[in-house]
Symmetry: none
Subunit: 320 residues, 4 copies
């Protein structure tokens, strides 16, 4: 199907439903630039316009690789993001959301990504050590300077999102326009009960990470723990997702996917996109084939019947 584009909430920017994240992959698991270039080109050619980055991915290297590759495409056809919060060194000021770190970080990210401005800049977590006014005036100031076009939050508590937007609005500053939460069939309560209502209320978009639950929803863990897979590497995520119960659910989902002529990967992506407030599902890919499969979710609208069946299988829909 054709790639579709959605607005970031009420704001003017449009992003592709399926987007590509550089996350732990590029510069890290995947070091071969030719492979990465092939993936990025594939994405671009299929209509992906949103490429999600962060300073901390492969410690700056992910940005550098993406910066080099993305040079090939006209700047205006790209929606480029980066993020700031996680420590980039041992230095006490080289982390968090202080004005010092944010302003120093954006310049480094721009340099690594070889661009004059970012489309989106995310506060990668909320920083309780910095007053809200310092955070909001700093990000809003970057918009005024033209170093970023919009700013957003990632994994912020609902009440801090509400405070940031309200503070910005009332003071004539640029409010965050997007939140980037983790969201998938296997991790939905926080988004559905607390984040979606804020996004709707304030006209923000959501671009969601890990829509495949670290790969759990692809089916690749149906029968074991493939070597080199994410769960083999990351104990924290394995414990979070790789349970017997989840395995059963994922197997059952196959039936639903089959009926719709989709893979489970495509089903999982289309499922997060059933929410109008979700602007994009950020996928990762270490091989072109993976991405190709994900791209198959573009333009898919899951029928009401399937959604009910899925909820019945998952058994984790938040109660009103």
């Amino acid at each position: 199907m054709e790639m579709r584009y959605r607005k970031l909430g009420k704001w003017g920017l449009k992003v592709s439903e399926i987007s590509l994240g550089a996350w732990v992959t590029y510069g890290n698991t995947v070091k071969d630039k030719d492979t990465i270039r092939e993936i990025v080109k594939l994405a671009y050619d299929h209509g992906v316009n949103f490429f999600d980055n962060a300073d901390v991915y492969a410690h700056g290297l992910a940005e550098e690789i993406m910066g080099e590759i993305l040079q090939e495409f006209p700047r205006h056809t790209l929606v480029l993001s980066s993020k700031v919060f996680w420590p980039m060194s041992e230095d006490v000021n080289d982390r968090g959301l202080s004005r010092k770190h944010v302003r120093e970080s954006i310049d480094k990210s721009l340099k690594r990504l070889r661009v004059d401005y970012l489309d989106l800049y995310f506060a990668h977590r909320y920083d309780p050590e910095v007053p809200m006014e310092e955070i909001v005036t700093t990000f809003s100031g970057l918009v005024d300077e033209g170093k970023i076009l919009y700013w957003g939050t990632s994994e912020w508590p609902a009440s801090r999102i509400a405070e940031a937007v309200t503070f910005a609005r009332a003071n004539g500053l640029h409010p965050p326009v997007v939140e980037q939460p983790q969201y998938s069939m296997l991790y939905r309560e926080r988004v559905e009960t607390r984040i979606l209502p804020e996004a709707e209320r304030f006209g923000m978009g959501l671009v969601v990470w890990s829509p495949l639950a670290m790969g759990m929803l692809t089916g690749k863990y149906d029968h074991g723990l493939p070597e080199g897979s994410r769960f083999a590497q990351y104990e924290q995520f394995r414990e979070m997702f790789l349970t017997e119960e989840n395995r059963e659910k994922v197997k059952e989902l196959k039936r639903v996917a089959d009926e719709l002529g989709l893979t489970r990967t495509q089903l999982a992506l289309a499922w997060v996109l059933r929410q109008g407030q979700v602007s994009s599902a950020i996928t990762g890919a270490s091989r072109p084939e993976q991405l190709k499969e994900s791209l198959g979710a573009a333009g898919v609208d899951l029928p009401e019947e399937a959604l009910k069946e899925i909820d019945a299988i998952l058994g984790n829909a938040p109660q009103e």
Copy 2:
């Protein structure tokens, strides 16, 4: 021990640690005015200054009874509250937090309570049908007119509290100074994980309702379901609290209470007051003896050791 008084967060008003709520009792379960007068007088004589009311309690009758009885005491020695939100009739506008309903309600509450102003006025729930600016400007306006001295929220989502305070501050309006949540040993997660952080952040006080978990924590349900008791009447609360597991916990709490020379009622009240941000525990009483027992919790500081023991028994302390 002596009654102690606490500020409502950072604000100037002081309320007694133990306060008396008119809730479902007066005008409803307890209809005899002499008994109510005796209870109120007992409370007042023991230093209770905060009397919590709502328009909806016994459909206005609770306010009328309290208004008549409280006439006896100098106005400045009382901290009187009421609330607005729940439907008072079938009329479409006779409910919620619209400017129309709030302004019409305050006048009726003042009349029933026979006073010129309330010390505290609560938005009894959040009303998603009314814009925040309508809510905040309405309550703030009542402060400006002198009809109320402060306003607060009750059972509002954390993010709506954050929004209301931030909106008010940034626009030179009076922010809410207090939230009234349900909070007890058996119902603590919401307050401890989401409401307390907002209260601390914004300098608000908490006055908590049902600190005895509808009586479950008094021990009166140790061996059965006394006729006429709250759980015999209200299925919803019975299902919420009267479980075998809770019965066991409450029995175990007796040991901790005994060691401190307290009853379980007193233990439960002192326990909610261990939180500095909690300004008052609102108790109900249908008989003077009940209140006398509750008043015994005034001035009690639970030792660190007891708090640990209680947490071990309850097993419901929120994880960081």
Copy 3:
């Protein structure tokens, strides 16, 4: 000489240079209403228009007496003040600058003084337990309601005056227009180094209390401690002012006063009024003769030469 009138700083209100304070005297030391009436009438007839009161003077009685007596004069010819802060009872809320106490107090003061509005209402001290926004919005609100025409501070720290004025200005609220500090030849450092600069900066007037240093400057303690005198009653003030060094200074001042044809009382009053920012010197009087003497300071301008001589005698001029 003729009574002169001065503006309260930049504001529109004019007060007599010499004013009459009800302080500890009326209802307390002086209980005879006829005497008080005679004094007040004498003051009024000599052009005194500012009568300074407080809720706490004789615990409300001073206001009642003044209220009765001042009935005789057209309201518009009077500048009436009262104050709020000091405890009026044991009640926890019956003190300080909370919105509750201030609003409850003004109504009681208006009633005791038998007027619909006060010209000036003073926050009798700064209250660190109440947020500045609660204090300023409360007093400013009373101006909006017409219960008071202006508000002021008394014995506030310089930085809190600066904050109150700046906060009020920036938020479109009524700032305090006057500060009432203790100020006299024997107590000058605080006013001259810290309060006068704020008054000048913000266009506030000063109305000063105890310009005679509790009577020390009248010369009545030249040779001993007269029975029934203020120092015989109040140990705190005696220790503050009745030192051998001060006695010598006061004796030397007689020479300066004699040369100018003034009494030392008149010299002391004219001395505080040498400061253009001082709008009025508040005097007390328990006998008509006392007041008559004070009124003799009206219209007196001390020559430069005398001021130098006085500074030489006092030896307490603050260094730049």
Copy 4:
């Protein structure tokens, strides 16, 4: 011990407890760049991140020297300050806090220090000739432009700090986040009675200069006036600190220092850092050995007992 870092009050920036000031030393007493380089490197290697400068130190030369030396270190690991106020030439506009002088000065300081932005920019004194709105909008504007990250005050009167913060807050401008006062065992009253309360109230940090009372507290003046010492050069400071009484106190402090295994220099530095609101003690050093000794105060927490002993020796603790 390890260097520790503290936030500037409530704000996001973190500075090392011990910092290095260029003050009168570099370019003036100490002209040899190699020595200065050695000192700066020593400081940096021991965790010092805050280097305090001013335009007026050695008339610009101190900034130039520091600018050259600090080139070696990654910019984000440094917290660089400068200051503006004192005359830089005979020109009437080349001084004070006018918008003209501040904006012209920052560009010169940036050039001398060879950086694009300062972390902190201090108004080196309060300037009564410039309206507060000109001062605050100018410094706040430099933050908006990214030429400075935060601004602060130095030796401002408490009430002007209160006014600046309140004005900035109420107008959506960046308030000052730090004050730089003189503070030491021998000069404490101003800070402890007037400046600390403002810093606490407004969430500002203090970075204190002359924590060793111009060297008096090191013990180097125990027995005389060493040639070339600061007191031999500066009469004003000698008269301020080099009294017989202070000599005795400083000798007695040796006992307390010895008991803790500290030198008096280290004791004096740890003593100013006992105040949580003090973010950093600014030390000077003309020889590496001096700095080494000072760095020994990093991470030292003085025990309660020692603090009491010190107060007894000093006899200058402000009375409540």
